[in-house]
Amino acid sequence: MTHRKMPGAALGAAPAAATTDAIPPEEDLSLQVTRRPRPGRWLAVLAAALFAVWLAYTVIVNPNLHWDIVAKYQFDGVILKGLGVTIQLTLVSMALGIVIGVLVAVMQLSDSPVLRLTAGAYTWFFRGTPLLVQLIFWFNLALLFPVISIGVPFDGPKLISWQSNQVITGFVAALLGLSINEGAYMAEIVRAGIQSVDPGQREAGASIGMSNRQILSRIILPQAMRVIIPPFGNQFISMLKTTSLVSVIAGADLMTVSQHLYLANFEVVALLLVASLWYLVLTTIASIGQHAVERRYSPGAAPPLRRRVLANLVPGRARKEATA
């Protein structure tokens, strides 16, 4: 590796010499390693670059793509409001999805066959049916249950009840659909994470008298994070875009508002581009976050040095540790 960078070693000189297996004089052995020339690769690079430039050119100068419209709507209030809803939907449904996922994963790993079966049925159903179908179903919940109430089940007395049509707005239906669906996927991710942790860890925790809940939260889950984080990042990025599905139930998200706009002004491509640019911004930010978090939890990660550095920098803390 270092040889290649060696100053003074003329890179161009080597290929010119005739190929030989003869052993050069000893002092020359350390001199240089050059790359074998690969003309095919250069051709491929050139072709790819040309194609990319041509594609970009045809799109950019296309008179049917109204860049002025794109510019006009990119920061439009309606669009920004939709963007806010998209972010809100993603964050809340991912958060709920994690809660459901951890719960269902723990049920799946329980000793009780009833709990295992219940959890299995949940993931089976919600991973097995299209999200689009689930969203439309939640939106039309009133058709199945016109009244939602809290009270004694099986036609017992009710404490409170609501009209389903009033409770289940587009946003609520979207949240229900997205988080319950996400929970099923998260359950599988969390389960795989928990199972990746050495069973000896559980026994070590048990041997010092920790409860199952303590073992899970203090020992198992922190270690499972390494396995959970990468697919979780993918789920998050995927969710940013999946929220666009709620446009079919008037979810008021970025896609819904873009659709409403182009149905009125017929600028379909321009508004799709406006929405796409925002989705790209969101997923790019999420990817950067994903990389940062992954590095933090990767197997070979350096221990959290930052904390020790902080302890040395903050005088109060250092003093406290010194007296301890």
């Binding site: 050495d198 000896g200 860890q201 026994e203 041997s207 008298g209 303590q214 922190p222 270690q223 020790r308």
Partner: protein, 257 residues
């Protein structure tokens, strides 16, 4: 001799079709070091794990200080054993420290955090108190300068010494060692045995499953030889190592000594 702290009678355990413990009787006295030796697969480790209820037993009884471990007796003559409430099992485990063959340190915690974990999470000690105690314990096992290292940054011998400190942090009345040096490189065995020797001298009651015959001979008050899920014979190290009564003991010793 002192009082019996741990008593086992007729302990049986099967995994599927194979019976790994075929009715074990055993007494451990307070302050005693009992070494359990025997070929692999003889049930030594399983027996140890029955003592702190990491394994459920199929028959028999284990008492610690007169209290049945892991189970409570039901029925008119106390014939029915029912598993205790989790809270009671945890209370019993607090008094029994365990050191594992493969250490099982918590990799996401530093050495000192590993040792603090039990006192903080289980005993409810303040972090300041627990850390003070943990650093003292690490000093005892010769690792004061490694306290802030993660397990991945420690050698096997150092990890096992942290594991011993972690078990001791719960101030147990009995320590179980499950082949504590079997996963170590040969040159690291000595430092772990040294810590165990000091612990024995300090009067700790210990049950040690081991292949280290030298350690058993030097430190044990009694040695117990197990084979095929049963206790073949037990006695002082001098007696068992120099004049074993059973052919199976003799055959085993001739392969390891």
């Amino acid at each position: 001799m002192n009082d019996v702290i741990l008593r086992a009678r007729g302990v049986r355990k099967r995994f599927g079709a194979t019976e790994v413990l075929k009715g074990i009787d055993l007494d451990v006295r307070s302050g005693e070091v009992l070494c359990v030796i025997g070929p692999s697969g003889s049930g030594k480790s399983t027996l140890l794990r029955c003592f702190n209820h990491l394994e459920q037993i199929d028959a028999g009884r284990v008492w610690m200080d007169g209290e049945l471990i892991g189970y409570e007796q039901h029925g008119p003559s106390g014939h029915v054993l029912r598993e205790r409430r989790p809270r009671d099992i945890r209370r019993q485990r607090e008094r029994i420290g365990m050191v594992f063959q493969r250490f099982h340190l918590f990799p996401h915690r530093t050495a000192v955090q590993n040792v603090m974990e039990g006192p903080v999470a289980v005993k409810g000690l303040s972090r300041v108190q627990a850390e003070k105690q943990a650093r003292e314990l690490l000093d005892h096992v010769g690792l004061a300068d490694r306290a802030d290292h993660y397990p991945g940054q420690l050698s096997g011998g150092q990890q096992q010494r942290v594991a011993i400190a972690r078990a001791l942090a719960m101030e147990p009345a009995l320590m179980l060692f499950d082949e504590p040096t079997s996963a170590l490189d040969p040159e690291l065995v000595g430092e772990v045995l040294g810590v165990m020797r000091d612990l024995a001298r300090s009067g700790m009651t210990m049950v040690v499953v081991t292949h280290e015959m030298g350690f058993a001979r030097e430190v044990a008050d009694r040695v117990l030889f197990m084979d095929q899920g049963a206790v073949v014979e037990a006695g002082t190290p001098e007696l068992l190592f120099t004049d074993p009564r059973h052919e199976r003991t003799r055959a085993f010793l001739s392969t390891v000594l």
